[in-house]
Symmetry: C2
Subunit: 212 residues, 2 copies
C-alpha cells in the first residue's frame, strides 16, 4: 500500500483525537498536522502539504466552504475530503463545486474513513452512502429543489446573515454603508429566490445554511 500523508482541520480536539485513533492502526497513513482553526490550517499548509486533507465545514474563524475553494485553488495537489455533520445536499454541492474530492459524515466508522481516504487519493470522488442516497432521492423525486440549490450571491448571504442576527433593515444599511432601499431590494430578491412568504422562511433558511 502506498503511504498517504494526512492533514486534519477540525475545531474539536475530540474529533481530531478520534480521527487519529481511527487512523493510527494503519501504518501507511501518517498524520502530518492537525489544525483547530482555519488560520492554523493555512499556516500548516505553507509548511507541509498532505496528500489528503480532512476538512470540517464549521470552523470558528472561517467557513470550511471558503477554505475549500481557496485551498483547491492554491494547492491543487491536495485532495480535500469534507468531514462534517451537515448532511444537507446544499453543503455537499457547495463543497464539491469548490473543489472537494469527497464528502464524509462524522458518524462514519474506521473502515469507511480509510476507504474514503484511499479513494480520493486514487483520484476518485468519494461520497458518503447516505449522502449519495439523499442526492439521488432529491434528483429522482425532484423533491425540494427550491430552498437548497438556490444560489444566493455573496451580498445576499451577507444580508441574510445580518437579518438572522436580528438587525433591522435600517441597521443593515448602516453597517454595510448602503441605502435602506438597497437592503430592501436585496431582502426582496432573497425572498424571491427562496420562495419565501415572510421573514420566517428567511430565518429558517438562515438556520439551514448555518448562519445562526
Amino acid at each position: 500500500m502506498i503511504p498517504i500523508t494526512i492533514g486534519i482541520a477540525d475545531d474539536h480536539l475530540l474529533v481530531i483525537q478520534g480521527i487519529k485513533a481511527m487512523l493510527s492502526k494503519k501504518n501507511h497513513l501518517s498524520i502530518v498536522f492537525a489544525a483547530e482553526n482555519g488560520n492554523s490550517l493555512l499556516n500548516n499548509l505553507k509548511i507541509a502539504l498532505p496528500d489528503v486533507l480532512l476538512l470540517d465545514i464549521q470552523m470558528p474563524d472561517m467557513s470550511g466552504i471558503d477554505l475549500c475553494q481557496q485551498i483547491a485553488k492554491d494547492y491543487p495537489s491536495v485532495k480535500i475530503l469534507a468531514l462534517t455533520n451537515m448532511d444537507e445536499s446544499f453543503y455537499v454541492k457547495q463543497m464539491i463545486r469548490n473543489g472537494a474530492a469527497g464528502y464524509l459524515l462524522k458518524n462514519t466508522d474506521q473502515l469507511t474513513m480509510i476507504n474514503a481516504i484511499e479513494e480520493v487519493m486514487m483520484g476518485n470522488q468519494y461520497l458518503d452512502k447516505q449522502i449519495q442516497k439523499n442526492l439521488m432521492d432529491e434528483m429522482l423525486l425532484g423533491k425540494k429543489r427550491s430552498a437548497q440549490q438556490v444560489v444566493l450571491t455573496k451580498r445576499e448571504l451577507e444580508i441574510l446573515g445580518l437579518i438572522a442576527k436580528e438587525f433591522t433593515n435600517h441597521e443593515i444599511a448602516e453597517s454595510l454603508f448602503i441605502s435602506l432601499r438597497t437592503v430592501q431590494t436585496h431582502r426582496l430578491n432573497i425572498s424571491h429566490k427562496l420562495n419565501a412568504k415572510n421573514m420566517v422562511s428567511l430565518v429558517k433558511e438562515a438556520y439551514k445554511r448555518g448562519l445562526i
Copy 2:
C-alpha cells in the same frame, strides 16, 4: 487514584474514539461501554453501571435531556456529565435540572475532561469555564432572562407555533376564529415577553422550544 468506570453515549463514532483516545493514557479510568444511541445506552446501563456517564445531548433516537432525567431517576448512583456542542444556557439549565452532575463542551481538551470526570466523581458539580462565564453574565447583566423562564400562555404558544409555520397574522386569525387585532395583540405580547426585536427572535424562540 481511585479507579473510575466510564460509560459513553454519543452518536458519533469519531467522538467516541476521541474520548477513548483522550482517556486511554490514564490507568485509573476505564471505559465500560460506548453507546451510539439512546436505546443502546439504556441497554448498556442494564448490564453495567458506570461511575460516570458522558452523555451527548443530540442523539438520533431520543433527546439527551430526556435521557438524563430518566437515568438520573433510575440510576441515581451514576454521575452524568453532559458532553455537547450546545453552549446555550437553556440546555445547561435543563440538563442540570434533570440531574446532570456536570456540563462539558466538545471543544474540551484532555486535562479538562479528566478533571471534570474526577470532580463529578467526587460528588462536585462541574461546569465548563465558558459556560460558567455565560451563566454569570446572564445573571449579573440580567441580560435575557433566558427563553424558558418566560412563561407563554397556551394561546401565545399556539400562535407562536403558527407564526413559525409561516402563517400570516391574517391566516392565524382565520384558523383560530379570532380577530386580526387579537392576533396582533398576542404577537406583540409574545414579543414583549421574549424581549424580541422582530420576527427573527420569535422564530429563534420557536426553534428553541421545538416548535419547528
